[in-house]
Symmetry: C2
Subunit: 204 residues, 2 copies
């Protein structure tokens, strides 16, 4: 399999974490979002939304959207329960992550790290506010030991992505005791590797 990837994207990190925990081998191809490679025709053919990650299967089929990739890879493994309501809980947190956590924390983190906060302070404040509210919701909804119940699932993997680096966005996960303890439990799962890299590009 080929993972079209960026080392500083936590959406890509989520997929790498699961691939490694499943013991699947994959080739990483960096698509440089900062030089516009994600918007070029060859990448738009992989993902009409022009983003990473995209997973290319051995069949040649390509699959975009980090959470869709997680669900595809996790089917039939302990990382995705099969009972309808348990599976629905995993879906609930995966959609919450992509609808509230990511549009808040990922956008704010990106703006902070590339130096765009001063140019668009109202936009940054809006995104950070959404991100902080999503942390409050996660703190409120977290059950012990993992978000969807007794087992570590891809919902934990997905939420870990932008929650663990929320301080880079201007939020502080350590202010939330349940989140803090949960981050430690996620990092302690077998085969867990966090190799997220910093953003070094700046918008000058």
């Amino acid at each position: 399999m080929i993972l079209y990837d960026h080392p500083a994207s936590a959406n890509c990190l989520k997929v790498r974490i699961l691939l490694r925990q499943l013991g699947l081998s994959f080739e990483r191809v960096t698509v440089d979002l900062f030089s516009g490679e994600t918007r070029r025709p060859e990448h738009l053919a992989r993902n009409p939304d022009g983003r990473v990650p995209v997973l290319e299967l051995d069949s040649g089929d390509v699959l975009p959207e980090s959470a869709a990739i997680l669900l595809y890879l996790a089917e039939g493994t302990p990382f995705l329960p099969s009972a309808p309501l348990e599976r629905a809980r995993v879906h609930q947190w995966l959609f919450f992550e992509q609808n509230q956590v990511e549009p808040g924390l990922a956008v704010a983190r990106f703006m902070a790290l590339v130096g765009r906060v001063g140019k668009h302070p109202e936009v940054f404040a809006d995104r950070l506010r959404q991100g902080r509210r999503s942390l409050e919701s996660l703190e409120r909804g977290l059950v012990d030991p993992f978000v969807a119940g007794a087992s570590y699932t891809v919902a934990d993997t997905a939420l870990y992505g932008y929650v663990h680096c929320a301080s880079e966005a201007g939020a502080e996960p350590s202010e939330y005791p349940r989140i803090t303890a949960w981050l430690g439990r996620v990092e302690a799962t077998p085969g867990f590797v966090n190799d997220l890299e910093p953003i070094t590009w700046t918008d000058s």
Copy 2:
């Protein structure tokens, strides 16, 4: 089943469309987001993120997140294919909708309809820009006749929600010929009912 609902929310509309197309009976309970009812303890117990829709099952279990509800209800029906790659395509578009379309168009529509654009013009422009880019991506990725392929699925139901009313957000779906034709095909599916109501509350 009980649907905790708001008549002006297109996230809630998606669930009503599917419930009716499946011929399932349900009771609607309006949770008034404008008067703060979605943030009260009794609703936060249903959804830690304090939003609608939430579906209460006959067992008493509660399920938040519109797309998670769609997947739960559609399991085993023609609205959700079971082949892994076909199902992954449905997931791809469901996550794209919640990650790009909704944070763009739903937030911009809300700001426009309640009169918040003048107070936060930069935030509105940011959200509308994201919404317009999501329409370009949808136009690029739409396959004939439905987004995930040959059959109408819950991915179409979900995308219909905020795309069909994008003009209320300041975007114009009629500028996109494939989207325009697809909206007509979605509305022509058996049992399709769009009873989205306007937002009448204003932020004064």
